[in-house]
Amino acid sequence: MEPENNYSLEAIDKQIKNIVVAAEELKRLSSGVPAIDKNAEAILTFAHILENDVSDILELDEERR
């Protein structure tokens, strides 16, 4: 699939939030299975990096509005 020409921070942020919710739910469902728990944590780590890159910037725009 070709990348979109103009990115939308809002659309990216929405998907990051979805990932965070899904990964947290995975952790909750892991019932102590380390393979699920730790991989879900890794997903959260990268989601947090994306939050720094996108969501935090969006937050600034929202503050300005």
């Binding site: 780590t45 990096i49 720094n52 890159d53 935090d56 910037i57 600034l60 503050e63």
Partner: protein, 439 residues
Amino acid sequence: MDRARYWNAITETMSREQLEKLQLNAFRKRVKWAIDNSPFYQKIYRQAGIEPENIKTMDDVRKVPLVSKEELRAAQQAEPHLYGETLAVPVSELTAYHQTAGTTGKSLYVTDTYESWQNMVEAFCYNIYAMGLRNTDRVFIAFPYNVFIAFWVGHYAAEKIGCEVVPGGTMSTRARINKMKEVRATALMCTPTYGLRMAEVAQEMGIDLANDLAVRKIICAGEPMPEATRLNLEQLWRSDVYDHIGTAEVGPWGYMCEQKKGLHLLESMFLFEFLDLETTSKPIQLGEVGVTVITTLFKRSFPTIRYNLKDIVQLSARKCPCGRTFRMIDSIRGRTDNLTKIRGVLFTPLSIEEVIRDNFPQIVEFETVVTTAGTQDNLLLKIELNPSVNPQDFSSIENRLVETLKFKTNLTFAVEFVPQQTLPRYEYKSARFKDLRRE
């Protein structure tokens, strides 16, 4: 805008106004985290009456106390073992141990959680992507993979951007050169000193770096690289050579882009302040020389907030044509703790390297020793020449070297020619300056 030119076009090209707001927000969060979780910062911030919600401008930032390596080191003497009061997360969250090289005293222990380590890797991705590394590159890492952070983070960053990584590990220099030839590595990561050393060994092996090897990009780190040394490496390797700066405590914070003119500051992940050398209290202006104070904006485990790096840099007035809006530094001038007075003259050992690499390609290796005789400081520069130099030329080389050094440093050096292969060679940080006056 061609977004693929940047690792992260969103942050690297954002407006200065937005960037500064982003930094201030993140700075406030770091200070709050430190107050809530780090016994070390709790103490000093309570004493100084620091309230995160009152930090709204850069003037407010400057009211937060500076922190030094010595203070962090002292705080590590407390319990719990290893990190003492500097630790700001439970031990169960730690996943990476590293330490500083200890060139300025006892090593500082540095730790990361999985998340802060991945942020370190992310920061290095900005660096190497700007230098032009891509997923078609095969990167050879000439680093012994030990407790020093150096190219550990480079390894994972290269992997993350999709390069194929060849770990040089504990191989000898000859074995590394042969391996680079065998696998046709297209890029190399090493210290500048070791890049020169490899070139010397390749010559002994009869290997032509330009034609027998496929290396076209070299990423240097670990020690200051004067422009003359960078150009020397480019000539020896017929490659593009890039500088990058970072430390174990804070992470990789500055990088060259493909323009190779100065270093960009990674301002979306760090907050930088450049302060006057004398009082470390006033911000310097563009083009001036000052000391670097840095805040890592992503670290929870081992916060470094208004950390005095002691790196002396010249703040650039240049706007880079690459389009990045991050500020730049022109050069790294050394460290405040390496500045020393010799015969009453303020001196940095980096100036010797600048003179040699800029003017004397025939000098293969060198070492400076300062001693005291009575009340007089004596400076001795030991040099090893390329074997092709005619002994008849020694005296003219010596005269020119003494004269150039005098002009550059205002000091008179005695020069000693030493036999080949007698001066130490370095794989990591070099230690070419020996001050024996205090011993």
